[in-house]
């Protein structure tokens, strides 16, 4: 009997878990709203209306807004959506159950990160298409840099999601994850660059991973630049938050 039992190959297990996570997000109305609908509405609203006036530093509105909207989308998928899903999975014992299958705890975490990247691929395709339709012309020289920024931002915010989901009750996570998303979008340098924020908020926001992600994407996609400072800051945040997550995360 032993000879016929065994685990599926590691890649198959990770692919299965990542696919399961992506489907869970795409089938859930609230998750879809945070990850796709909200960024898309913001993109169209900021480009096509004058409700909010932006200082675009000489770029067209769509070229200025799209990187920030992509940063918001990443924040929604890797932080808000992931924190809420993981918090409820933790309470329902899903994390413990999957940890007893050949997937294991590491496989589960890796599957979650891959799942977030999968959702982000969908976001980039959908939001990118909307932006191109609105006249977006990203600098081709910055695309590789933008992908790097997205990956680093995903690492940082997925770790933050795990810190929150692995320590607080799901109801608390639900509230915190949504509030933090709004606060970071308004005052965290996601859509509006940190240096355009009023007074001391500008100095504070510049240190946040949200501003590092937003500013890095704007620099890369609008000017084709390689923003060393922002990418370094983002790497530091990712490392620190993962270290914190491995310390404080509780599986049950």
């Amino acid at each position: 009997m032993t000879a016929t039992t065994g685990a599926a190959p590691r890649t198959a297990r990770l692919r299965a878990q990542a696919g399961f996570e992506v489907r869970a997000v795409l089938r859930n109305g609230e998750q879809l709203m945070v990850t796709l609908l909200l960024p898309a509405l913001l993109l169209v609203g900021l480009v096509r209306t004058d409700v909010v006036s932006l200082t675009t530093d000489g770029a067209t509105t769509v070229d200025f807004v799209t990187p920030g909207v992509l940063a918001l989308a990443v924040l929604g998928a890797s932080f808000t959506s992931q924190a809420i899903a993981t918090a409820f999975d933790r309470r329902n014992g899903v994390l413990r159950m999957l940890a007893t299958t050949p997937l294991g705890r590491r496989g589960l975490l890796a599957g979650k990160v891959l799942g977030v990247l999968g959702v982000e691929l969908v976001q980039v395709v959908v939001l990118g298409a909307v932006a191109l339709w609105l006249g977006w012309s990203p600098d081709p020289a910055g695309i590789a840099t933008a992908v790097l920024a997205l990956v680093l931002g995903t690492a940082a915010f997925t770790a933050l999601a795990l810190v929150v989901a692995g320590t607080l009750r799901p109801e608390g996570v639900l509230a915190l994850a949504n509030i933090l998303l709004v606060v970071l979008v308004v005052a965290g340098g996601v859509i509006v660059p940190a240096d355009q924020l009023p007074g001391v908020a500008a100095d504070l926001a510049q240190l946040l991973p949200s501003a590092a992600l937003g500013d890095a994407l704007r620099a890369a996609l609008t000017h084709g630049a390689f923003p060393v400072g922002e990418l370094t800051l983002l790497t530091g945040w990712a490392a620190a938050l993962w270290a914190l997550a491995t310390r404080v995360f509780r599986w049950s």
Binding site: G6, V94, M97, T100
Partner: protein, 311 residues
Amino acid sequence: MPPPPALEIRGLVKTYGEATVVDHLDLDVAPGAVTALLGPNGAGKTTTIECCEGLRSPDGGSVRILGLDPVRDARELRPRVGVMLQDGGLPGSARAHDVLAHVSKMYARPRDVAGLAERLGIDTFARTQVRRLSGGQRQRLALACAVVGRPDLVILDEPSAGMDPQSRRAVWDLVRELRADGATLLLTTHLMDEAADLADHVVVMDHGKVIAAGTPDELTSVEGDSVVSIEARGPLDPTSLRGYLHRLAPGDWAVHHVEGHRYTVTGAVNPRSLAAIGTWAAEHGVLLTSISLGRRTLEDVFLDLTGRSLR
């Protein structure tokens, strides 16, 4: 020489703060058999098996699963040990069938998902979200997830809790079939009939310790002892009845309150002592509405061992 145990626990200790939940527990689970860990809520059953599943690290003692360490050798053990958690551990927003299909993908040669779903009646709610399932439906789905990978050892925590009788029978049939296929099963339960009907070996646990172990027959058949169940119109004084029987026939008499006005009398029951119960009742103005003689059940064993009812 008997085969080595599929699961071997020696001196297991697990504490949460001040409370010692598992207290120097020894346990052997024979390969190819069904072992039931029986005990009331809070006895330490779940903590014990979570140490076996690698979900908790013991504070003392050792646990060997299929000859391996549940934490250090977790990667090797995970494909070989199927686990059904007490809370199910199922994602609420996913559909029932998708969960089972997903878990099956973790294994190299899983059972046929459609066949397993049909056996356990999961096909009737395959497209329902887990959060909308009844307790019994969730239990069946969790059980299916535990066995879909053809494990050598299956650990089930309260497998039939919250199930209707029909689902319970389906679960019991599957457990027997798994055993017939050569799997080893360890299950926890607080249901006496589940332990008595399903298990080859019953381990009675209370306050983190094993207080009795044996086959259901061994546990229930004590030479010369039998049990009288009585029901009265009103309350009666167990101490008085016990004293009366002891004066009449000195021996190891026990009178336990079951619930309501039902009591059990355990001891050397014979026609004379049976008549004495009636006489005592008459002398104390107690009207007995029912009196029946039977063999000890696991429940009686538990009452004798702990002085408490299991419920």
